[in-house]
Every structure is written in structure tokens, then in C-alpha cells.
């Protein structure tokens, strides 16, 4: 069943892709095939493969239970939040929080995970910024 749904999504994706390809503005500089032909070729392959999924699906994979899916969604949200927080709160603070959260969710004791978060953040800061001179996000406190 998963494969069938996946195939239908693939078909929609290729239809959307072709539709977007037809909207590409042609330029006055032109070669014989133009910017639309290659995307259309790709869309054909995409659609053909998706059709195979719909007609001959593989056995469904073992999807995790709702709780695990929620866990993955939370971690995704955390990583997005981390990306947004980096320029605002600086590298060390945001990384401590993000790394602590991840190690907590991977099964570390809350206190151990806070220590792990701090160690990871400061470790990366020392190695990559202080020793190797990579520029990391600077927050209000300069680190």
C-alpha cells in the first residue's frame, strides 16, 4: 500500500513538474531544444517509474508506531528551530540546546544529555572556531 501511495505522489509530482516546465519563460537566446526539453524527459521517467509502483508495489515497509513518528517530527521541528535560532542566539547557546535535546531523545538521562549538549557545543566551538578558524554563527554575546 505504501508503494501505491508513493506512486500516486510520484505521478502528481511529475505532472506538477511538467506543468512548471511549460511555464518556463523562453529567452531570446535559444538553442534547438531549449530549457524545457530535458525536464520533460525527466518527468517521463519519473512518471513511468511511479506507474510501476502503483501497478506492482513492493511489500509495505515496517512503519514506526505513531509515538516514534511524533518523535521524528519533533526532532525535525527542533532542527528547523535550530537553523532559525543560530543567527539570533549564536552558535554555542543554540547548539547546546539542540544537541542536548537530540541526545535526550536518543535515550540519555536528562542531566547527562545537558552535559553532552554543552560538551558538544563547546567542543565544536573550540576545534572548529578557535583552532581551525571557521566562522560560526555569532549571537548577541559574540559566540
Amino acid at each position: 500500500m505504501s508503494d501505491r501511495i508513493f506512486g500516486v505522489i510520484g505521478l502528481f509530482l511529475s505532472a506538477f513538474y511538467v506543468w512548471q516546465a511549460t511555464l518556463i519563460q523562453e529567452s531570446f537566446i535559444q538553442d534547438p531544444v531549449g530549457p524545457k526539453a530535458f525536464p520533460v524527459l525527466i518527468a517521463i521517467v519519473l512518471a513511468a517509474a511511479s506507474l510501476v509502483f502503483v501497478l506492482r508495489p513492493d511489500p509495505a515497509p515496517h512503519w514506526p508506531a505513531a509515538g516514534r513518528l511524533f518523535e521524528i517530527a519533533m526532532s525535525t521541528a527542533l532542527m528547523i528551530a535550530y537553523a532559525l535560532a543560530l543567527p539570533e542566539a549564536g552558535f554555542v547557546a543554540s547548539t547546546t540546546v539542540a544537541a542536548a535535546f537530540l541526545s535526550w531523545r536518543l535515550g540519555a538521562h536528562p542531566i547527562a544529555s545537558i552535559i553532552a549538549g554543552l560538551t558538544i557545543a563547546i567542543g565544536i566551538y573550540v576545534v572548529f572556531h578557535l583552532i581551525l578558524g571557521l566562522s560560526l554563527a555569532r549571537g548577541p554575546w559574540g559566540f
Binding site: 512548471q20 518556463i24 530549457p35 525536464p39 525527466i42 513511468a48 537553523a83 547548539t95 571557521l134 566562522s135
Partner: protein, 507 residues
């Protein structure tokens, strides 16, 4: 000999203090990454590319660092295979079959030493194979026009799907998805934006490093979260090593296995799309057919340890041949190395050998040096790497995640790129669940631009006549191989695939 003098020049390039230190660092990191389950060669190299890039390393040192990591990972994978029965990376899967039983018999030290030597033999001769074969392939590649290149790229995708995946349709889907992602951004030929949806960040296209790190490294974190495998599987009491020297008689007994496997592995590596996993699989299967007369394979036969290790290391060297000579990678990790070259504005292929011989030969010399370093590191110092296995993933994976973010943020300083990377991570996780291979996606993202450019160039030359794609004997041959590579596994692959699935369940 022309080749030997070029190689000599290469050693001059590689023998600087900085390059030697980078090779040493790369070998060490690579072995660690290979040994840790969950950090394979592809995502290891993928995380390091943006770092090498932002640190401003020039092309040759950066390549030396990353190929040392690549070779190192091939060595490291065996450690957890033998001690824990968990392959540290995919190519080391076959090593578990005889390596773990050997360790259970109390011969862990011998198994580690023997597999270290087998790894050395495999990669040493494969590097010689690279030296000999790559310049020959370059001569062929000089005959390639745009139409032939287009056919060659198609061949790479077709064989990659045919060999590396269980379902051709899924491999084709993955390749098309990757190529589709590559078309996002301003079209290089006519200057019009495509699929950018008015988003300024997308005009540049999607940086392939962002896609690679997202698909490989970030999705790996989701896999760990899903399975809640936060605790180390390692248990210090299980890891008694003992003496780390193989008896001479064992070396003599396995010499045949090593040499056969090296040849098989190298050939498997050179074929586009096959890579190290297939190399070790074929090497083990062949050795089992040739030598398993008393039914000792699978019960801790030293030949069953030597064969897959020589095979996967030889394949790792072989996979560099098409990557350097044609610009078409032979495996997932070499695809990632190709990304490195492209990020440094170096286009591999015949011109690389003419315009940047120092890069090519310096790299090859560094492989020889790295290989010796790896042998020295992996036999006397193996217990050091064993200790690394005790780091539980609950602390390791967050660190990996954060380093991935640092690398990508370092390239562009853009929050948008980080979010795209997380998006690729989720996509990669879903696709892995659905058994869609990720390597064709990467290859598509990397090669899409070149593939389209060559197609359109061929069309411009022929003034829009599509038959030009099949006009020369060379291109017809390439198309024939592409079709064969795609169709043959559907017809004959049942046996092979069923067998592989059994091995999967076995671990």
C-alpha cells in the same frame, strides 16, 4: 615509462608535511567512521566536504584528506563486523559471516590482523590498477563528444540502478528525482530561471553539498531516533582481542583468496555503479565456491575474512578509475568525492589529467602513502579503534548532526540552506523506508547539469536532430550497455537478489 614518471611527480606533491599530516588525519578519521555503525564512508566524507571547503584547503590537500577518509573507512568497517557482528558500514557486511565466528572462537586478534593485511593487499594492488588503467581510459574518453557523454551518463544511471538496487523502478525514480532537483535554478544555457517559484534562494539552484549531507547524514539521525538505538551495542567484556599478529601459516593459506578477491573486487569497482559492497559480496561468493570444500565457511574460516576485505578495498580503488578518468563515479562514496571536485571547480575527466596532473598524481601518490599508514594504524593500534566503538550513539549522533550543520552553515551562512538540508534529511528517511536507493539521487543532482549541457550541445551541433545521439559506433555501444545493464538484472537478477536478501536478514 610515462606513467611512472607522472607517479614520481605525484609523490613529490604528496610528500609535503601538510599533505602527510592530512593523510594521517584522514586515515584516522576514516577508520573511526568506518568502524562506527551508522557512520559509513558516504556520510563521513559528506560531512567533511563542507568543512574542507570552508577551511579553504586547496584542491590537492582537500582531496588527499577526503580520499584518505574513504580508504580508511574501508579498513574501519571490519572492526565492528568482527567484534560485534554489526557491519560498521555496508561493504563490511560480508566480513561478519566469518569474522564474528572467528572472534567467538577466541581468534579476534588474528581476524583483525588478517583482515587488515587483506585490506592492504586489496587496496595496494587496486591503486596500481588505477595507475595503469586510468590513463588508458582517458585516451578512450578523448574520443567522446557530447552525444557520447550523454550516453555515458545514461549508462551510469542504468547500471547503478541495475546493480545497486532491488527494484529497477525505484532506482529510475531516484535518478529522475535527482536530475529534477539539478534543474532547479537559472538555466546555464539561456539564462532563464527554472522551477524557482520566484524564491531568490533557488535561483542559484540547490547546492549539492546541502542535498548530500541532508540525504546521508541527517537521515541517519532519523533512523537512529526511529529505532531508539541510543545505547552502544558494544560491550567491553565481549571485546577480548588477544594477539594481533596472524600466524604465517594463516597468511599462506589465505594468499590465494586475497589475490582472487583483489581482482574480482577491482573489476566490480571499475564498473559504474557497483562499488565496494558488490565487490565484497562477489569476492566472498566466489571464494566460497572455490575453496569451501569442507564446509568451514561461515564458521570462522580465515579465507572468509580475507576475501571480502580484499574485495571491498580493491573495489574502493577501482571505483576511483571511472570517477577520475570519465567524471562518472563508480559508487556512492565516489559520487560524494565527485561532489568535492565540483565544489572546488575541478571537472574530472580527460581534461583533468592534462590540465591538473598534479592533482591526479598527487592524489594517487597519497593513496599509496595512506595505505601504508592505514596498515600500520590498523594492526598495532587496533585496540585504540576498538575503544571508539564504546561511544554510545546517543552522544555520537547529536555531535554528527551538529557538525553537519556547522559545515553547511560555514559554506553559505544561510539559514535557508540549513532548512533545505533538514528537508532532505526527512526525504532521505522516507525514501529509505520505501527502499528507494539514495545514491542515484546524489548522482542525479551532481551530474544533471553536465548531462543536460551535453544533450543540448549535441542537439545544437546536429541542429535539433535527435538521431545524433545514436550516430557513432561508440555511442551505440554505450546505449547498448546501458539497456543491457538496466534490463539484465530484471531478467537474470532474481537469483542474485534473493541471495542478497538472505544475507541481509542474516545480520
Amino acid at each position: 615509462m610515462d606513467v611512472l614518471s607522472s607517479l614520481g611527480d605525484g609523490f613529490v606533491v604528496a610528500f609535503t608535511l601538510q599533505n602527510l599530516l592530512l593523510a594521517l588525519l584522514g586515515c584516522f578519521l576514516g577508520t573511526v567512521m568506518g568502524a562506527l555503525p551508522g557512520l559509513g564512508p558516504s556520510n563521513g566524507v559528506a560531512i567533511l566536504i563542507p568543512l574542507a571547503f570552508t577551511l579553504g584547503l586547496p584542491a590537492t590537500p582537500a582531496l588527499i584528506l577526503l580520499t584518505s577518509v574513504y580508504y580508511g573507512a574501508m579498513y574501519g568497517g571490519r572492526i565492528s563486523s568482527i567484534l560485534l557482528n554489526i557491519p560498521g558500514d555496508e561493504p563490511a557486511m560480508m566480513t561478519t559471516l566469518d569474522g564474528y565466528p572467528m572472534a567467538k572462537k577466541g581468534m579476534a586478534g588474528e581476524a583483525l590482523a588478517l583482515s587488515g593485511i587483506a585490506s592492504f593487499v586489496g587496496s595496494f594492488f587496486a591503486t596500481w590498477g588505477l595507475v595503469m588503467l586510468a590513463p588508458q581510459l582517458v585516451k578512450v574518453a578523448l574520443l567522446f563528444g557530447p552525444a557520447e557523454y550523454f550516453a555515458l551518463f545514461t549508462l551510469a544511471f542504468a547500471t547503478l540502478g541495475g546493480i545497486a538496487s532491488r527494484n529497477q523502478a525505484k532506482a529510475a525514480f531516484a535518478a529522475a528525482l535527482g536530475l529534477g532537483i539539478a534543474t532547479i535554478g537559472v538555466d546555464g544555457q539561456t539564462g532563464v530561471p527554472r522551477f524557482a517559484f520566484g524564491e531568490v534562494h533557488l535561483y542559484d539552484g540547490i547546492d549539492f553539498l546541502v542535498a548530500i549531507v541532508g540525504l546521508f547524514a541527517v537521515s541517519e539521525i532519523f533512523v537512529f531516533l526511529e529505532n531508539h538505538r541510543g545505547n552502544a551495542d558494544a560491550d567491553a567484556s565481549k571485546m577480548k582481542i588477544g594477539r594481533v599478529t596472524p600466524p604465517l601459516s594463516m597468511l599462506k593459506k589465505t594468499a590465494g583468496a586475497m589475490s582472487r578477491s583483489t581482482v574480482i573486487g577491482f573489476i566490480a569497482g571499475v564498473l559504474p555503479g557497483a562499488g565496494a559492497s558488490l565487490g565484497s559480496f562477489l569476492a566472498y561468493s566466489l571464494e566460497k565456491k572455490v575453496s569451501d570444500k569442507d564446509g568451514t565457511f561461515g564458521k570462522g574460516d580465515p579465507r572468509g575474512v580475507a576475501a571480502p576485505e580484499a574485495g571491498n578495498n580493491a573495489a574502493a580503488g577501482g571505483a576511483l578509475v571511472p570517477m577520475l578518468a570519465l567524471g562518472v563515479p563508480g559508487s556512492g562514496t565516489t559520487a560524494v568525492l565527485l561532489a568535492m571536485l565540483l565544489a572546488l571547480n575541478i571537472t574530472p575527466g580527460p581534461l583533468l589529467f592534462q590540465q591538473n596532473p598534479d592533482v591526479v598524481w598527487g592524489l594517487i601518490a597519497a593513496l599509496f602513502i595512506g595505505n601504508v599508514m592505514l596498515l600500520l594504524m590498523n594492526i598495532p593500534m587496533v585496540s585504540l579503534f576498538v575503544r571508539v566503538l564504546l561511544i554510545p550513539p546517543k552522544y555520537l549522533m547529536p555531535a554528527v548532526a551538529m557538525i553537519s550543520f556547522v559545515g553547511i552553515y560555514g559554506i553559505s551562512g544561510s539559514t535557508f540552506d540549513l532548512m533545505v538540508m533538514v528537508g532532505f534529511g526527512v526525504l532521505g528517511w522516507v525514501l529509505r523506508k520505501l527502499d528507494v536507493p539514495l545514491v542515484p539521487i546524489i548522482l542525479g543532482v551532481l551530474l544533471g547539469d553536465q548531462m543536460e549541457k551535453n544533450l543540448r550541445r549535441a542537439m545544437t551541433i546536429s541542429d535539433g536532430d535527435w538521431t545524433t545521439l545514436f550516430a557513432s559506433p561508440l555511442s551505440i555501444a554505450l546505449w547498448a550497455f546501458a539497456i543491457l545493464g538496466f534490463v539484465a538484472p530484471i531478467l537474470f537478477g532474481r537469483f542474485f537478489r534473493v541471495k542478497r536478501r538472505e544475507e541481509d536478514i542474516g545480520d
